[in-house]
Point group: C2
């Protein structure tokens, strides 16, 4: 294994120390393992907390800041954050207006966020949970009952974050987050597996000419292994899988997301294919984002996410965000 | 070779089509192969043009927009842009106040930009060239006489771009660009080589426990192959190499840059080590940036860049930029 680390056991804590040094606008609680806006809690503002296993950066810690999350709880790599950690983050961002938990649908994450929500409720904090389960590739998976939460998490965090920033109430912020999730579908391909520092070798092996179609962000199996095909064919198949799973009659927000080891030049090439194929399918693109946002360590791969966007979602998507990983208008 | 492409020969053109579709705020001339601000030329504004081989994205095309470049000329992968292409971009951004060429020090780039500058001059456009040669690892290299241009290119484009945006004259914009370069030093490590679509296999082979210290952004050999060591030791050695090469008495802008295949969690871990070691060495950090900005396709690796920053440079660094690859304040 070749990585820029010191000790596999300390990667998350040492990366958090780097985040703390690089981003004075954030407060990083290294012992309790969460990242929070330095100005938290903000009285009267609904707090947004997300989290999950590390290894998907910039998700979630990179999306803490005005217009997106108030706090993020990174677990160890590909490991759920623990309830105490989530509770501490929830208390840190509670400004009296309640807290929304944005949770990707993995069994451990769901359980631990639920327990933290119960503990927070006992302490008088109102918590609403938005569950993200946008991956259309498979129903149930290695660590998931139901569909997995993947690329749409970014959209939920951006759009619900903007709603909270402008003064939305707890129920409103949660409602728009759920609406974004319901309106979203994603599909991913892996060309190679990522390598966790603890394992020291790729999470799975693929023959030199095969890919995993419908892969999860921890390398979970997808629909099938298949031969590598031209980007155009893979893009069409992924879009068709999403369009078959959910209706997308109106304008969409598109995310072309790299899984960590795929160069930007390939992601733009894919976006060109996406734009052409959606036009052929009669789907209008309202907004688009291309880059590495929801990754799987150094996995070479990409995911496509479509979100059937209302005018309100587009307005909130366009609102300013000021975070390490996503920034515009501020 | 596993890549999301259609045909190795069409990667750059097809990626440019994707850039055109994703960024309506830019104009992409796919046949002439350059990317330009949609509002170019802007009368009275000094135009900034950069370019070089593709494969280093977001450099340069991702840095076109208000506050940075007016145009970028991507060559084929790891191949210099041609004079006609550079001339066309130069003419497209000439608003009557002259044009600055920002050129990384590779023999082909230098020759072709020089020829384009001569042709532009013949057409009545004043051109100043800023040569970037910040890499302290080696003197002369595979495609370079003198030092290679690497991470500092981003700093030159940001700071000179801000100076042009606020109305700086041709000589002033060129002068601050040169000053940034003179004040900068960089050093890179490769854990693996990148794979060009044309070659279909990694540019060089490294044993499983070895790295290339001082590698170039096309995989050019560095100072030596050495055993992989903890991130802390590698970071210290890279910083010491930079600090030995140039004086850095005052505050610095730091860039921790991924070469394409290195996860963000490792780059942040490295930044933590950078911050600690610079403190030990008595070097104050004024600003910092962590991410994948000057890449080498899918190479797992990272580079460190320090720039001895004047107050003026910091002011211009903080000025708004609105580009696909770097954005703040707008």
């Amino acid at each position: 294994m070749k990585k820029f680390i010191n000790d596999p056991a300390d990667v998350v804590a040492q990366a958090l120390a780097g985040v703390a040094a690089a981003h004075p606008e954030l407060r990083v609680e290294i012992d309790e393992q969460y990242i929070v806006r330095a100005d938290a809690p903000r009285p009267g503002k609904v707090g947004l907390v997300s989290g999950g296993g590390s290894g998907h950066e910039p998700l979630h810690g990179g999306f803490v800041g005005p217009g997106m999350l108030d706090a993020a709880c990174p677990g160890e790599i590909f490991t759920s954050p623990v309830p105490g950690q989530i509770l501490a983050a929830t208390k840190a961002v509670d400004g009296g207006a309640g807290v929304v938990h944005i949770v990707k649908n993995y069994t451990g994450d769901v359980m631990n966020f639920q327990l933290a929500a119960e503990l927070a409720t006992e302490e008088g904090i109102s918590v609403e949970t938005v569950l993200v389960d946008d991956d259309v590739a498979v129903e149930d998976s290695t660590w998931t009952a139901g569909r997995r939460g993947t690329g749409a998490t970014l959209l939920v965090e951006k759009i619900a974050g903007a709603r909270a920033e402008e003064g939305g109430k707890l129920a409103e912020v949660a409602a728009i987050g759920r609406e974004v999730n319901t309106h979203s579908g994603s599909f991913a391909y892996a060309l190679t597996a990522g390598t966790t520092p603890a394992a020291g070798r790729p999470g799975f092996e693929l023959p030199a000419d095969e890919i995993e179609a419908g892969v999860g962000i921890h390398g979970e199996p997808g629909r099938r292994r298949e031969k590598l095909r031209p980007a155009k064919e893979l893009t069409h198949a992924a879009l068709d899988a999403i369009l078959d799973a959910k209706p997308f009659p109106g304008p969409v927000i598109v995310l072309v997301n790299g899984l960590g080891g795929t160069p930007l030049i390939e992601l733009y090439l894919i976006y060109g294919e996406v734009a052409r194929h959606l036009e052929e399918r009669g789907v209008r693109i309202a907004r688009q984002l291309v880059g590495n946002y929801v990754t799987s360590l150094d996995m070479a791969g990409m995911s496509l996410t479509l979100c059937q966007a209302t005018d309100e979602m587009i307005r909130l998507w366009d609102a300013p965000a000021r975070t390490p990983g996503l920034r515009w208008g501020a």
